[in-house]
Amino acid sequence: MGASQTRPEHNYDDLTDKSGFSQEQIKNLYQRFQQLSGNNEKISRDDLERIPALNNNPIRKQIITAFFDKRNQHQNDVGSLDEIGFEQFLMVMSHFRPVNSTATEEEKASVRKQKLRFLFNMHDTDNDGIITLDEYRTVVEELLSQSGAIETEVARAIADAAMLEVASTNVPHMAPDDFYEGITFEHFEQILKGIEMESRMYIRFLDMNTATMRCGKLSS
């Protein structure tokens, strides 16, 4: 009962290796983890949903789900968890580390792939390896959900158009009866070539100041 305030030191090295964070970053994140979980060992979905700042975020459901998605744990597992421990929390966070400027091209490519994989998993909710039109439509609808009364037709039109674009760039010649199943991971990589993921998808962890962390109304 009750969490120990500081984890035993040897665990930190373990985590450093696995997640790539430094000791200080892990300490900061652990403090945050304690705050979120109310000093328990595990975080559940409710803990994350209670964060008030997330209320304005149109894709909060997907984000929260991503934390509990086993696929993001680098372990070739599928399915979802009900609660996550600190280590799993760290593993999900490690997707948002900035890439080292001294990294070689292959390392950069692999980091990029990893981040794209995270995004892909967020879209591909049924885990069949492709993003179907319905899933993509859901994505666009969620994105536009906070913008007031948007007719679903427009959202669908946008999703259809985007899908068509993916299909056109990746499989240019299809007979009229062929059916484009959905966006595979390779196609996904292809269409997002223009965005430099490794430099855009990161959070500056180093200056995380615990004093500014507010969980809001996480009373008791």
């Binding site: 975020n57 948002f96 994105l143 056109s168 223009g194 100041n209």
Partner: protein
């Protein structure tokens, strides 16, 4: 063969003729200008003499002969000369591009300076005095604002904001470092390196520092002129360009500071401290003034829906007023102008019509182009005009110091900056940034403003400034292009923004904001998100008229793309030509989920023989003008008659009408004798129709030209008009939008008629509105304000 050579020869001869004409005109205009500028007194005396004579004449009543042809140049002198100069500048611009290969080797700015030199030389050669054309007032109030406004209005906000820290450090710290380094060392050289009787040793420290501050600022005009032609990647472009814009505040402060100090002759600590404060006042005050005028402009544009013609005028006027207002208080006019343009743009663009947008864009480009040309020509003329005082030591030391200071500054600052950046600046980047620090006409004008009483060494300064300008523009300007190639610096990516990238950029923004919230870390994304929400909730409601205030950015982007696609489609004349880079045969049908298998009897599409298919295809190809069989684009457009002109209310009306028609058609499905394919979205049906030749099986026996309604976008998008083919209007409208394969009962036809007529009218309107091809396809500056 012979015909080709003849035509080639004639075009070559035409070119030559044009060049000769330009040269003759040039000579003539130069001569006129020279004569005109010097003949100031003689015409007036002649005039007064003439008046007296006529007076006497009227008194005596004998009267001279009535002057049938009279010469009166004085009245039109000033406008005439101005027009001549502008015409000269424009003809020069034309001429350069006619000479083959010249524009590839030598940047335009160099050529223009040479032309200025020539003109000045010719004027001097004919014995007249060269007119002092680069008057500081003219430069700062007339020639400079269009260029800066053009830069500010089309500033790519996202990269600018992302690199703001870096840009500010280069602009402020870099310029300060340059100024003090050059000024200080120059003073040292003057004191130490020369004999005490030489004029140099009399130059005080403050004067040297003033000179240093004038010469150290990177010039936006020169940077724009050169960098436009080398197409480097966005990051470097925005770094150098942003620096050149933002260092104006530093230059203004330093200039006024040192000017005042050298008048007084001594500096106290208090004054130094006040100087620092005044820097903040100048910079932030300028920005504040700009933002104020920008908001005013945005607010005004909200009400212009009935007087579309003067919309561009508001944009120009408010911006110019911002500039002048800032200059009243000695604030930084350039920063005011940039802030005004950048702030007003997203709101104004949401309010004004499409044509006004085009007008603004073209006018800004035209004015800034003419201004730039004139500035460089005048630089050349002013060089010839002098007065010069060439001092070998001073000039060479200045040039060397400027280069050295720039290099050291950039390298040192990058070292510090790289500790805070994620995307570090490589050595190549640093080289380009250092090499791209060009000086230009602003430095010259500032030097020209110095008064001779306070600064006896004014001519030395001016000569040195001109030499530095020439050096940077000629040597650095000419060699930067081959160097960029040599170093294989990343070039600008020409790729257009795709809708997938847009979706994912937004997705990423939200994702990162969410992660930051989970971490409890109030970082970039958190604040950006807060600003966005504030903007959406309060600001947009105030400044954008009507419905557009609620349009989320993704949808706005989507509509913009549709519009562009539509315009492209019409421009290309439809037909076989595929304007896009990726011709593909993928259509909507391919991506829609396959319907669940149905019993064979329900398959609605009978198979056509190949012959019939070919026949029908041929008919379509030859007869229909505005259709495409396989649209490679991602959607089908239905165009509205100039939606931006008539306002959104019309659009919404049309949209509703379309909706009603769609609903009716859906109901009609049940009346068919042959069950139609399962009720898919209308998009799907449209798609199947336009792309599927089997759709035309509806008329297996008839030879009539099938009437196709090509819908270029899903009907739900507000930018919809049905593009009717004028050809088949007489024919039945069976094959309408829903791909009903078999002959439907007459009911749908009746229901459609009112809609059709309306659409026919739209067709006419469409032709008219699309006669203006609009802005060029390259609109990458249309990024969102708050992405």
């Amino acid at each position: 063969m012979p015909s080709r050579t003849v035509s080639h020869g004639s075009s070559g001869r035409l070119r030559g003729l044009f060049l000769v004409m330009v040269l003759v005109f040039l000579e003539g205009s130069v001569f006129t200008l020279a004569v005109a500028s010097s003949d100031q007194r003689s015409p007036t005396t002649a005039h007064s003499g003439g008046h007296k004579a006529t007076d006497h004449g009227s008194h005596n009543n004998t009267g001279k002969a009535f002057p049938v042809l009279d010469l009166n140049y004085e009245n039109v002198r000033v406008p005439f000369e101005i027009s001549l100069w502008v015409l000269l500048a424009s003809l020069m611009k034309l001429g350069f591009h006619l000479v083959p290969h010249l524009s590839n080797i030598v940047p335009e700015s160099c050529l223009l300076i040479v032309v200025g030199l020539l003109v000045g030389g010719i004027i001097r050669g004919t014995g007249e005095t060269v007119p002092p054309v680069l008057d500081s007032k003219l430069f700062f109030y007339i020639l400079l604002p269009p260029i800066i406004l053009d830069a500010g209005y089309f500033l790519p906000i996202r990269p600018f904001m992302e690199n703001l820290g870096t840009i500010l450090i280069f602009a402020v710290v870099g310029t300060l470092w340059n100024a003090f380094f050059v000024g200080g060392l120059l003073y040292g050289v003057c004191q130490i390196g020369t004999e005490s009787t030489s004029i140099l040793s009399r130059i005080g420290l403050l004067q040297c520092l003033l000179f240093g501050s004038i010469i150290s600022a990177v010039d936006p005009v020169a940077v724009l002129a050169v960098f436009e032609e080398i197409h480097i990647n966005e990051l470097l472009h925005i770094l150098v360009f942003g620096e050149s814009l933002l260092n104006d505040a530093v230059t203004v402060v330093l200039y006024h500071l040192f000017e005042e100090f050298s008048g007084i002759g001594s500096v106290t600590l208090l004054k130094g401290f006040l100087g620092v404060i005044s820097f903040f006042v100048v910079a932030l005050g300028g920005v504040l003034v700009g933002v104020l005028y920008g908001i005013l402009a945005a607010f005004t544009s909200r009400f212009t829906s009935h007087t579309r013609v003067i919309e561009p005028l508001f944009v120009f006027l408010y911006s110019y007023m911002a500039y002048l207002s800032a200059e009243i208080f000695h604030l930084s006019g350039i920063m005011a102008l940039i802030a005004c343009g950048a702030v007003m743009r997203p709101y104004v663009e949401a309010n004004i019509s499409h044509k006004s947008h085009t007008t603004i864009k073209y006018f800004l480009k035209m004015w800034s182009s003419v201004s730039e040309t004139l500035i460089f020509i005048f630089l050349g003329v002013a060089t010839v005009a002098g007065p010069h005082d060439w001092n070998w030591t001073f000039v060479t030391v200045t040039v060397i110091l400027c280069l050295v200071a720039r290099v050291i500054g950039v390298v040192g600052l990058t070292f510090i900056i790289n500790k805070f950046r994620i995307v570090k600046l490589t050595t190549k980047d640093q080289f380009i940034i250092a090499y791209g620090g060009l000086r230009g006409a602003i430095a010259f004008s500032l030097g020209f403003l110095l008064e001779k009483e306070h600064f006896p060494e004014r001519e030395i300064f001016l000569t040195a400034i001109i030499t530095v300008i020439f050096f940077t523009v000629f040597v650095q300007g000419m060699t930067i292009k081959p160097l960029v190639e040599l170093l294989a610096v990343k070039k600008k990516q020409e790729a257009k923004r795709s809708i997938n990238e847009e979706i994912h950029t937004q997705f990423l923004d939200h994702l990162l904001t969410g992660i930051e919230d989970i971490c409890g870390h109030y970082g970039h994304h958190h604040w950006k998100d807060k600003l966005n929400r504030f903007n959406k909730k309060y600001v947009k409601k105030c400044l954008i008229a009507g419905e557009r205030s609620k349009e989320p950015q993704l949808i706005a982007f989507y509509h913009k793309m549709e519009m562009k696609q539509a315009i492209q489609l019409v421009e290309s004349g439809g037909g076989i030509k595929m304007p896009s880079a990726v011709p593909s045969t993928v259509s909507m049908q391919n991506i829609q989920p396959r319907p669940p298998t149905k019993p064979a009897a329900e398959r609605a599409i009978p198979q056509l023989s190949k012959n019939k298919e070919e026949e029908i295809r041929k008919i379509l190809r030859t007869n229909l003008q505005r259709t495409r069989q396989r649209l490679r684009s991602y959607n089908r457009h239905t165009l509205v008659a100039d939606p931006y002109e008539d306002g959104l209310s019309d659009l919404l009306l049309k949209k509703q009408k379309m909706f009603q028609i769609e609903k009716k058609l859906k109901e009609m499905n049940t009346y068919l004798t042959v069950p139609a394919p399962p009720p898919d979205s209308p998009t799907m049906c449209r798609a199947r129709l336009a792309s599927d030749p089997q759709a035309y099986s509806i008329k297996p026996a008839s030879n009539k030209v099938p009437m196709i309604q090509v819908d270029l976008a899903s009907p739900q998008s507000p930018d919809s008009v049905n593009l009717l083919d004028e050809f088949g209007q007489a024919n039945q409208q069976e094959e309408e939008e829903q791909g009903l394969m078999m002959k439907p009962p007459s009911r749908p036809r009746e229901a459609k008629k009112p809609g059709e007529e309306d659409e026919a009218k739209d067709q006419q309107k469409l032709m008219r509105c699309l006669s203006d091809p609009g802005p060029s396809a390259d609109e990458d500056e249309d990024g969102a304000f708050l992405p």
